[in-house]
């Protein structure tokens, strides 16, 4: 079922449970001004591997599949992002092309912030920058778990690889 669009982060009831969104009032207000909220249908590709980062995408509801792709077009799921996750963060901060693709698994509301605005926002709001550091640390733990599963599995089945 599609959820109704929650336009303002200031009134979001789920905000306090989410690592990135639980910002202090001043930072939250600034973020609310910068973000563009859209309701995206299931299957929407937020960004593709190899493309230049335009900005970050905060999943307000629903899930997204984060994948890597081989030259032959085979896909491998790195992880499934849950509500509250921020997608495209590492590429935006590193200023390098996206290492992964992100596709919505549900019809959901997404808040987008342009890269230039995000960089300025992080420079101005130390707490937000700390939240981003915590988020990236968690993402990195996920990624290393995946490296372990893929690299250490004895066979394709045990690696739980999802190839399409």
């Amino acid at each position: 079922m599609e959820s109704a669009t929650q336009q303002s982060c200031l009134q979001c009831v789920e905000r306090s449970d989410r690592l990135f969104c639980d910002l202090p009032p001043e930072a939250l207000k600034a973020f609310d001004v910068l973000k563009l909220t859209t309701l995206c249908p299931r299957g929407t590709v937020l960004f593709r591997e190899g493309s230049q980062p335009r900005g970050i995408f905060v999943l307000c509801h629903g899930r997204a599949r984060v994948t890597v792709c081989s030259q032959a077009g085979r896909r491998l799921t790195v992880w499934i992002a849950a509500p509250g996750e921020v997608l495209g963060l590492s590429a935006c901060l590193a200023g390098s092309p996206h290492e992964v693709s992100a596709e919505l698994l549900d019809s959901t509301q997404v808040a987008m912030v342009k890269r230039r605005d995000l960089m300025q926002f992080l420079h101005n709001h130390r707490e937000a920058c700390l939240h981003v550091v915590s988020l990236l640390s968690r993402d990195l733990h996920h990624a290393y778990d995946r490296v372990r599963a893929v690299g250490m599995g004895k066979n394709r089945h045990s690696r739980s690889i999802r190839i399409q």
Binding site: V68, L93, Y144, R146
Partner: protein, 240 residues
Amino acid sequence: MLSPYGLDIIESCLTCKTRTERLFCDLPGAALQAFENIKYATAYPKGAVLFVEGQAPRGIFVLCKGRVKMSICATDGKTLIVKIAEPGEVLGLSATVSGKPYELTAETIDPCQVNFVKRDDFLHFLKSHSDACFKVAEQLSEKYNNACHEVRALGLSHSAGEKLAKLLLEWTSKNGEAAKQEPRLRLALTHEEIAQMIGTSRETVTRLFADLRKRQIVQAKGSTLVIRNKTALKLIASNN
């Protein structure tokens, strides 16, 4: 000052000449001074273990000189090298920030100079210096991108041959040799370590190198590897 390991130790970050070239170290004046006050400069010989996977995070290790092998280990003892860390990298960052156990094991493969910062001091430092916080975010982003690259290389390659060819091509582009007709590589790792980088056995790596030499795709000259047929190597890497 020369240390027992033949390293020219940089005692102070304030006078370090390579600081400006390094992502984390290039901090503004006040942050650099604060970092200088909380860091401990230490020298390690080759083969020293800085931290072990599963260990509670004690703090971060800024690699000033030398290289460090970052690996994960399976319960059966099988090791996978995730990355060879180069000078300027901050090790143990995500565990120190999150408070979760270290995800990787860090072992020096050269004599190294490392600046250690205790976890509490580092977290306090990040809260006080937004520039440093931003640089940490950039470092974490790079590490995340590298981990995704590793997932792709390990999970989407068909064979050990394909993984080895990809690794050799990656090294040539890192060394700035990619544009050359016959790129050269100094193989600083053993066959065992290369095997651990691509998730295969030492025997398979030795066999693959023998095969590449037989097909005149590569030629070994001491510890230097010359890629004689780049096109053929690329073909193996693309699984064709």
